[in-house]
């Protein structure tokens, strides 16, 4: 800043703000992790449906999920069903919040460690269906569907391959801390039988911030020599 600015400040002038010098054009790690969770689920579901289920002679539809990220109303399509509507369980991944640890972060806060909580919401749809014996009630079907969705998500996310979500250097650990199923309210008069569950996934990771570019205060040229008697001599030159 220099002497001039110091004198200006002492005279009552305001110090100008030190602004960031680089464009913030990269995702933070919590965003990267969110997208990675969705990608892991998507690719694994595709593998289950397209490869592993047919190989095992199982119905691929039993392994299908509809995947969303940060959707505010992913079940909208189910309120206006038709014969072509996709009725597979719906999964919506969204960021719930972050907790950063001050003690394990760098002094300047440039490198921070913490935990981000992701909510993986699962929805199951049930349609009452006629059977030979009577019928399969839609409310029970929706419960079975949402639990099937939980099974798929939990097994994928807690597989050993996904211990650090395959993000080396970013993620330290991941853990499903809770699964909560929501019972429909008694006064729920909806025509679509939908049940929901929330899987809470905690991910420990680092978060970095751009470093301020240094300002050259002074240039110094240094020449190091060893004298004949072994003494180390430094010759300094101040070009400016």
């Amino acid at each position: 800043m220099g002497l001039a600015w110091l004198l200006y400040y002492l005279k009552g002038g305001k110090m100008p703000l030190n602004l960031l010098e680089q464009l913030i054009d990269k995702q933070d790690n919590f965003e990267v992790i969110r997208d990675q969770i969705a990608l892991i689920l998507k690719l694994n579901v595709e593998e289950q449906v397209n490869v592993l289920a047919p190989l095992a002679g199982k119905d691929p539809l039993d392994y299908e999920l509809q995947l969303y990220t940060e959707a505010s109303n992913p079940i909208e399509n189910w309120l206006n069903l038709n014969d072509n509507s996709n009725k597979a369980p719906i999964v919506n991944v969204w960021v719930d919040g972050m907790n950063y640890e001050k003690k394990s972060s760098s002094t300047t806060g440039l490198n921070t460690q913490g935990d981000t909580t992701y909510n993986i919401d699962v929805y199951g749809l049930g349609i009452s269906t006629e059977t030979l014996e009577g019928h399969d009630p839609g409310d029970q079907q929706s419960a079975l569907e949402v639990q099937r969705g939980i099974r798929l998500v939990r097994n994928i996310m807690m597989a050993s391959q996904n211990m650090i979500l395959q993000l080396v250097g970013i993620v330290g650990d991941r853990f499903i801390t809770s699964v909560k199923l929501f019972q429909p309210e008694q006064e729920n008069n909806q025509s679509a039988k939908i049940q929901a569950a929330r899987i809470t996934l905690s991910v420990g990771h680092v978060e970095a911030t751009q470093e301020a570019l240094g300002e050259i205060l002074e240039s110094i040229n240094v020449q190091i020599e060893r004298d004949s008697d072994g003494l180390i001599l430094l010759e300094l030159e101040f070009p400016s």
């Binding site: 109303n73 079940i75 909208e76 309120l79 206006n80 069903l81 349609i127 009452s128 269906t129 006629e130 059977t131 030979l132 014996e133 009577g134 019928h135 399969d136 009630p137 839609g138 409310d139 029970q140 309210e185 006064e187 008069n189 909806q190 025509s191 679509a192 039988k193």
Partner: protein, 131 residues
């Protein structure tokens, strides 16, 4: 005729007024599979506000309103249509034609009768016939 009996008669007339009122043809299938035509109100609406909490919600409510006297007439049933959750039982089914001319079949999941004026509101959920 006292006022209560008058109200019951008026309700029945209103629910059966397809010519000049809001009533439409509504078909009800009972637990033994017998389907009969009745007359009543149909309602299929997206509900943007939860009436219980006043909070914004996203849902779809489908219901019909029928005359209790009509349902019990001619031996069609000895009990009101209601929600059935047992897998070894058939369900009460309702079908009616919407404004686009499409007929959709629904299952009764909840029954709200008002024996005072003789009307029952049946709340409906999606239904799928056996393939």
């Amino acid at each position: 005729m006292n006022i209560l009996l008058q109200a019951q008669e008026d309700t029945r007339k209103i629910l059966n007024d397809q010519a000049t009122g809001f009533a439409v043809a509504i078909f009800v299938t009972n637990l033994v599979g017998f389907r009969k035509e009745f007359s009543g109100f149909s309602n299929d609406i997206a509900d943007l506000i939860d009436p219980e909490t006043g909070q914004a919600a996203n849902s779809r409510l489908v219901s019909v309103a029928l005359s209790i006297q009509d349902l019990f007439a001619d031996g069609f049933t000895t009990e009101l249509p209601r929600g059935i959750n047992k897998k070894d039982s058939k369900a009460w089914l309702v079908d009616f034609t919407d404004l686009l001319g499409l007929s959709t079949k629904w299952k009764v999941f909840k029954s709200n009768p008002d024996y005072g004026i003789g009307m029952v509101t049946l709340l409906l959920e999606r239904w799928k016939d056996a393939p």
